[in-house]
């Protein structure tokens, strides 16, 4: 078992408004989310002495203006009442936001800081974005762009096609998972699709993006920010909110394959290695988990995580998500906040915030009764897979 189990905790959670496209400068939204997280933790901004984020935007051609296109640590040091300096900060370039959280947890345990603020600010410019615009293709793209193959939804489509073929999965089965997330979003006032229900027929009628991926298999891009305050378990116990103790973290560290080599078997191997680290470090297993927040930047990723983490046997997730098994009140509630599909694309921060809420009894109308253990598994899982396991007790 990992010596760090139960030594750190989530003490505060804050969200900005989530909008469909850019309306206010991203820096304003980040400040809003960070202030909310600090207030939620019951501390003063001046007590924040550590910062960590993954600042990059996940689409081709993103700008780099601090406070407008992205929110780096320096922007918060300048604009949040925490300075003029902090003890420690990290900006990770690899991994989704869990990698920044892992850095912060390690810094807390090393005594490098006492209260760490982690945020993820997502920009969503108006109009089309993220497309391939260049007439030339160098590097590994010379083997993909000339074939018109440049976007993550295409990679996910070929892996999902293979999954459907190998295991006989159907779009009707996926409709159960996607509409379950949308139903959960009706219990989450922060969710972009709160107030917009979806039926199975709505899902099946959606336009195709890259077959078999349809519009509603893709998460909803939003502009906004979510933030967490992390601290040591000792300090967290003295704060007003019940802590969510970190039982383990896990990260996929093998080389990222190119777009030519990005296949279903790789997703499964990487997911199993990431989840395996959570189980071995915590001494817990899939059967102990009361609620699972499983990444759904594209909906099939939730299947891969269900299988790779051992919640169901390989090849059976499409059947596992039927009959209310993953609904609130079911055997394993999944994406109880609506997922990225229905809350909005916060690149994993939404999943982590919800996992923390569930074990601290703060999930409101979507609370899983008596939740003791909850998991957040982020990434595709091949692309930047990482996870966190939380417990109610240290």
């Amino acid at each position: 078992m990992w010596a760090g189990r139960g030594k750190t905790a989530v003490a505060g959670i804050g969200f900005s408004q989530l909008t469909r496209t850019h309306e206010r400068p991203l820096g304003q939204l980040a400040i809003e989310a960070c202030r909310a997280a600090i207030a939620d933790a019951g501390i003063e901004p001046s007590q924040i002495d550590g910062l960590a984020t993954h600042p990059d935007q996940p689409f081709r051609g993103a700008g780099n203006r601090a406070g407008e296109d992205l929110v780096p640590a320096a922007f918060l040091i300048d604009h949040l009442d925490i300075g003029p300096e902090v003890e420690w900060y990290a900006q990770v370039s690899a991994g989704l936001i869990p990698s920044a959280i892992i850095e912060a947890l390690n810094a807390l345990m090393a005594g490098a800081c006492t209260y760490a603020l982690v945020w993820r600010a997502m920009h969503r410019p108006a109009g089309t974005y993220g497309a391939w615009r260049e007439p030339f293709a160098g590097g590994d793209s010379q083997f993909t762009a000339p074939y018109g193959y440049t976007s993550p939804f295409q990679l996910h489509a070929v892996a999902y096609q293979r999954y459907m073929h190998r295991y006989g999965a159907t779009r009707e089965e996926m409709a159960s998972l996607v509409t379950n997330s949308r139903a959960n979003a009706q219990l989450n006032e922060a969710a972009f699709f709160n107030g917009t229900p979806m039926s199975v027929d709505d899902y099946l009628a959606a336009r195709m993006i890259s077959e078999p991926i349809c519009l509603f298999d893709c998460d909803i891009p939003v502009e906004g920010c979510a933030a967490l305050v992390l601290t040591t378990a000792e300090r967290a116990r003295d704060l007003p909110r019940p802590p969510a103790y970190v039982a383990a973290w896990g990260q996929h560290t093998a080389a990222r394959p190119t777009y030519v080599n990005y296949m279903l078997d790789d997703y499964m191997a990487c997911g199993a290695s990431t989840a395996g680290k959570l189980w071995s470090r915590s001494g817990l297993g899939p059967g102990d988990v009361d609620a699972a927040q499983l990444y759904d930047g594209f909906s099939p990723s939730t299947y891969y995580w269900l299988e790779a983490a051992g919640f169901c046997p390989e090849g059976e997730a499409h059947a596992f998500v039927q009959d209310g098994r993953v609904a609130l009140g079911g055997e394993l509630p999944v994406n109880t906040f609506g997922g990225s599909l229905s809350e909005g694309r916060l690149h994993g921060m939404g999943h982590i915030a919800e996992a923390a809420r569930q074990v601290s009894g703060r999930a409101g109308p979507r609370q899983v009764e008596g939740a003791e253990v909850s998991i957040a598994l982020d990434g595709s899982p091949l692309l930047r897979g990482a996870g966190l396991l939380f417990t109610r007790e240290a």
């Binding site: 993220g130 497309a131 391939w132 615009r133 260049e134 007439p135 030339f136 293709a137 160098g138 590097g139 590994d140 793209s141 010379q142 083997f143 993909t144 762009a145 000339p146 074939y147 018109g148 193959y149 440049t150 976007s151 939804f153 295409q154 489509a157 070929v158 892996a159 096609q161 293979r162 073929h165 336009r207 195709m208 993006i209 890259s210 077959e211 078999p212 991926i213 190119t258 030519v260 080599n261 296949m263 279903l264 078997d265």
Partner: protein, 142 residues
């Protein structure tokens, strides 16, 4: 509608691949030490780390590992080519040795996972203007 394809920028690792394709040969980077094929080409063998790498011709035969029909206009030059199908082809020389291909959705009735394919070469220009060719895959014996 034939797409106006982004043109490859040939570099030290990729030049042998593209020039071979221009001669009508599919040449895949292979480790001279352990025999491992890899694509895209890499500076070292990803299996044994040898730097003794060559680009021998391969059979050009394989099977469709997976595919997707793209409806989005996400690539400049392909706006009027949608919908088109991308194939992931696994070459017969080695498991998990993949290449891409594309074709109009209207010509893809034959496409299925496991369908046997063989290489064909579509003439294109590299970024610097050299005449090369883009390996494509079509039904075997078709």
């Amino acid at each position: 509608m034939t797409p106006d394809r982004p043109r490859p920028v040939l570099d030290a690792l990729s030049r042998a691949y593209w020039e071979a394709a221009g001669r009508g040969e599919l040449a895949i980077q292979r480790c001279e030490e352990c025999g491992h094929y890899q694509h895209p080409p890499r500076p070292l063998c990803e299996r044994c780390t040898s730097s003794d790498l060559a680009y021998p011709a391969v059979s050009g035969r394989g099977v469709v590992h997976s595919f997707t029909t793209n409806h989005q206009r996400n690539v400049a030059g392909f706006e009027r080519a949608v919908p088109y199908v991308n194939l992931i082809v696994e070459l017969e020389e080695q498991a998990e040795l993949y290449l891409l291909s594309d074709l109009p959705a209207g010509e893809a009735d034959w496409v299925a996972i496991g369908a046997p394919v063989e290489v064909a070469f579509e003439p294109i220009e590299a970024a610097e203007g050299e005449a090369i060719a883009l390996p494509q895959f079509r039904p075997a014996g078709g």
